[in-house]
């Protein structure tokens, strides 16, 4: 057991994967000598060598396309995209090739690889540095999409992703990298992909969140608890596959739900969560499921980003609205 933050948990997972599986490679812009823009790969090149931890030219499509070839040939590349907003040049490789080769070849060729992307806002970053477009990847067949919110899950899910026989888009909430520390088991363990985590149980309303928003959901739940409202908080952890069972079970019990993400509202992943709830639990719903999301605007710069981001207040208001419904 070591106390670590989410960033350290990811470094630890990468270190373990590199140490135990010779097929694993870490590749991306600045991941080697300088340890990545967030320093998550710090020290890995020194330990595992420049053949295993590879600094790549500035070319995201190239990085993902090359990693795809490596994966097809039996390696296990773990790609770092510096910020989610820079994954778009690689989008064609991801949708047209990475997510498709198993189907195109009826299992004959596969691309077991991980694409890590720091995502989300809240740190006053420059344009394009706060994207949260997980819905794109969730809508792309052949990909798993994973988003941890705790150090423990980050480590266990990343190791599971690296070992997964299929490609995984692994989203890392930038804002939580160094926000909290917790005890994380040393050595190897996995958290299975596809199961939500019950962050807290309750009876009156369900808050559904993932990644960076789990913290805000928890805070909102704390505030509501003080008013005597019993809140269930679900951390989805994996968008594809989605743990519909946990989700539906909870809403059937509480009859009320708020879905929270910082992504844009229209066609965001929250809509999918709402759709599943109303398909499976309509008759249990006591009020419309509320979506608390980022707006359909460009993510604003530092001076105004607080207006964009769903915060505890907006979650509380939405929860109260469902309780009135």
């Amino acid at each position: 057991m070591t106390v670590m933050n989410l960033a350290q948990a990811i470094t630890d997972a990468l270190d373990i994967a590199l140490a135990t599986d010779p097929r694993v490679l870490v590749m991306g812009e600045d991941v080697g000598r300088t340890g990545g823009v967030f320093r998550l790969t710090n020290g890995l090149q020194a330990t595992h060598g420049a053949e295993r931890v590879v600094d790549m030219p500035v070319a995201e499509s190239g990085i993902v396309g090359t990693a795809f070839g490596l994966a097809v040939a039996g390696m296990r590349p773990v790609v770092e995209i510096q910020f989610m907003g820079f994954s778009y040049p690689a989008y064609d490789q991801i949708v047209s090739h990475v997510g498709r080769i198993r189907h195109r070849s009826r299992h004959r060729f596969t691309a077991p690889m991980v694409i890590r992307m720091p995502y989300g806002g809240g740190i006053g970053a420059a344009e394009h540095h706060s994207e949260s477009t997980e819905a794109l990847y969730a809508h792309t067949p052949g990909l798993k999409v994973v988003v941890p919110s705790t150090p423990y899950d980050a480590k266990g899910l990343l190791l599971a992703a690296i070992e997964d026989p299929d490609p995984v888009v692994f989203l890392e909430p930038i804002r939580l990298y160094r926000a909290v520390k917790e005890d994380v088991a040393g050595g190897h363990f996995v958290v299975p992909i596809g199961r939500a985590r019950l962050e807290r149980t309750g009876n009156d309303v369900t808050l559904v969140a993932y990644g960076s928003m789990v913290r805000d959901a928890r805070r909102a739940a704390d505030a509501l608890a003080e008013e005597g409202i019993s809140v269930e908080v679900i951390d989805l952890r994996s968008l594809v596959p989605l743990d519909t069972e946990t989700l539906i079970g909870s809403v059937r019990k509480t009859g009320r739900a708020v879905v929270i993400h910082e992504a844009h509202r229209t066609a965001g992943f929250g809509a999918e969560v709402v759709a599943r709830i109303q398909e499976e639990a309509l008759y249990s719903l006591l009020a419309p499921v509320q979506r608390v999301t980022g707006w359909d605007t460009i993510f604003p710069l530092k001076r105004t980003e607080e207006y964009y981001l769903p915060g505890v207040d907006r979650i509380l208001q939405a929860a109260r609205r469902t309780l009135e419904g």
């Binding site: 070319a59 499509s61 990693a67 009826r106």
Partner: protein, 345 residues
């Protein structure tokens, strides 16, 4: 431009292979042309979805593929059936894809050929990764990739060439410059004089080759393969050739090129010049070729029959190759589809 055998069948330098291999590769070109014509004709009958003929490009494909070891990786496009077949991809599988059956993309174990890329450009990078993996795995397998003149305009061509240069991967880039990308003529595609010269911008050697000359293609590719296998890095080969047929069976090339131009290139037919050469060496006769053509024709007929006889995938099977283990979503969707078909029945 590297040329060893002129269109008239004259040798400008020593041939890079003996008569036996020459005969074998000539017959491979004959067989490939049989396939190309058969595919075109059954497409007209509605038995294939669409087809992209390679007539005129046989030497470029077969000359280059002949330089490979059977375990070398190949990353081809939709127009590279001849090269794929040379590397072990069965006619049946090539046909299956064209018939609209995903199982065409699944060649037998041991065939290291990826399903042909339909998107233009992206696949070249895959050959960079495959070759890189070989080095990491301590193997001397190399990777060859085929693409057209049009593909060189895509950003991914650039990224692939650049990575191959930086990481010195054992990748052989074969650009079949067949003068057109659908309707766009080569000179509208790029303002550089040749495509081969683009290699210099990546610190990679580039070679301009007569793509209709089997000998030149074989020699240039062999040299590139040796370079790649020895860990000396990538090569770009521009095979100057011509697509004698339409872009695909849905294309009408008369909209964008003259019959006269096609005739000029027909005179440079890659089969003709080897035929002339072999005849001059007294290693060709009409009956020998006809027999081989008939043999190939029959073999291809059987492949067509086999592909057509294969029962189409069942409805539930379209869900079965998305992941190693089916996700709950897909399982549920599979059930929905089956239920809806039951309802219907």
């Amino acid at each position: 431009m590297l040329q060893i055998l002129t269109p008239d069948g004259e040798l400008l330098a020593d041939p890079p292979m003996d008569i036996d291999l020459t005969k074998r590769l000539f017959l491979a070109m004959v067989a490939a042309r049989q396939y190309d014509r058969k595919a075109t004709s059954i497409q007209k009958q509605g038995r294939l979805a669409t087809y992209a003929p390679f007539e005129g490009q046989e030497a470029a494909q077969i000359g280059s593929a002949a330089a490979l070891r059977p375990d070398d990786w190949m990353v081809p496009t939709y127009r590279d059936a001849a090269a794929m077949w040379m590397q072990g991809y069965p006619w049946t599988h090539l046909l299956l894809t064209r018939m609209g059956d995903e199982r065409g993309g699944s060649p037998p174990e041991g065939v290291a050929v990826l399903p042909p890329s339909i998107t233009v450009g992206a696949h070249m990078l895959h050959a960079v990764g495959l070759a890189w993996a070989a080095r990491l795995q301590g193997s001397d397998r190399i990777a060859i990739t085929y693409f057209g003149d049009g593909a060189t305009s895509e950003g991914d061509f650039h990224e692939a060439m650049n990575f191959a240069g930086v990481f010195r991967t054992g990748t052989v880039f074969i650009c079949q410059n067949n003068q057109y990308a659908i309707s766009l003529a080569r000179h509208q595609q790029t303002a550089s004089e040749t495509i081969a010269e683009k290699a210099a911008g990546y610190g990679v050697p580039g070679v301009l080759v007569d793509g209709n000359d089997l000998f030149a293609m074989y020699q240039a590719t062999s040299e590139a393969v040796v370079r790649a296998r020895d860990g000396r890095g990538a090569t770009l080969i521009e095979a100057l050739t011509y697509r004698l047929g339409p872009h695909t069976t849905s294309d009408d090339p008369t909209r964008y090129r003259d019959a006269a131009e096609v005739e000029t290139w027909r005179a440079k037919d890659p089969l003709d010049r080897i035929r002339k050469y072999l005849a001059a060496e007294s290693a060709w006769d009409e009956e020998w070729e006809a027999r081989a053509a008939t043999g190939a024709h029959d073999e291809i007929d059987r492949a067509v029959e086999e592909a057509e006889a294969l029962t189409p995938l069942a409805p539930e099977e379209i869900f079965e190759s998305m992941f190693a283990e089916m996700t709950p979503e897909l399982a549920e969707q599979q059930q929905r589809l089956l239920a809806s078909r039951r309802d219907q029945a």
